[in-house]
Point group: C2
Chain length 177, copies 2
């Protein structure tokens, strides 16, 4: 663990989350949300320009496969027996490899979800920063932002930005080590 932290010392992990007011990131697992604002999409695309790798879960990968194949993408999947490379995309079972070694070749890694990937990275201390876009919607159902956690994590609010007239908010949190 100590060795892993040393390996990842220079890697910065940032999660990007788009959420409803009630903390839901999706209404169904298999499609990309169609309720996020243009401003959120622009922010994400511009931001990704400064990241040299992306981490996603299998469903998130499938929902945006075409775009993600153009990036260094790590697809987390529990059903992958052996790490598999396809062009820029690496399919990996995060429980079966040394992630620190695998990811330490990068400088800035964007974590794009879904909720079990966000939770996994948070609980493994591989998350330094969290951007949350809150769209002014209430769903009352759907996939929660984080799930399967067993302890509380404390964040520090760094900035608040209003992205548009209807009131999409962009929050930036630093995750306390």
């Amino acid at each position: 663990m100590k060795q892993n932290r040393k390996l990842l010392h220079k890697v910065r992990f940032t999660a990007f989350v788009a959420s409803s007011v009630d903390g839901r990131i999706s209404l169904s697992t298999h499609t990309r949300p169609d309720w996020t604002s243009r401003e959120d999409w622009q922010f994400l695309q511009e931001s990704l320009g400064s990241y040299d790798a992306v981490v996603v879960g299998r469903n998130t990968f499938r929902a945006a496969e075409k775009r993600l194949r153009k990036r260094n993408t790590y697809v987390f999947s529990r059903t992958v027996a052996k790490t598999k490379q396809e062009g820029l995309v690496t399919f990996v079972n995060p429980a079966r490899v040394n992630l620190a070694t695998l990811l330490s070749t990068h400088k800035r890694i964007a974590v794009l979800g879904g909720s079990s990937v966000y939770q996994f990275m948070l609980s493994k201390k591989m998350l330094n920063e969290l951007y949350i876009t809150i769209e002014p919607l209430v769903f009352g159902r759907g996939i929660p932002m984080f799930s399967g956690g067993s302890k509380n994590h404390t964040l520090a609010l760094r900035s608040v930005r209003r992205l548009n007239k209807k009131g999409t908010l962009l929050l930036r949190y630093e995750i306390q080590p």
Copy 2:
């Protein structure tokens, strides 16, 4: 329905919600959250001074019974067969009474949760305004802010306030009719 809306025309419903960043309002059903900030507590107590009634679910009532017995409180419960009055407190099964008639005697009603009460009031169009305090915490488990919904609701962001140094945020939304 139309008649109900007329009855409630002059009643203003405001929900007060304290939440983690990931949209959880509680880690367990039966205790009052101990993770909310002093500033949120002060805001709530000061606000309640201008409301002449409170709506809560059974668990929320139990967790704050002593304080709530001093207010005009409506406790929603599916297990109440017949509306029952105890001092200032009315126990009522919201599915079995005409809520509009019951609540129209008040001017400003504070809805204090839990999630099924928030959801119920939202879906019955008995929610005009929503204050959400976001504490800088991630739980990854627990009770979501709204649950059991079947459609999306659009809000309009009215204000954002930072309540303290650690970054507790207070958001005010207007619910679109």
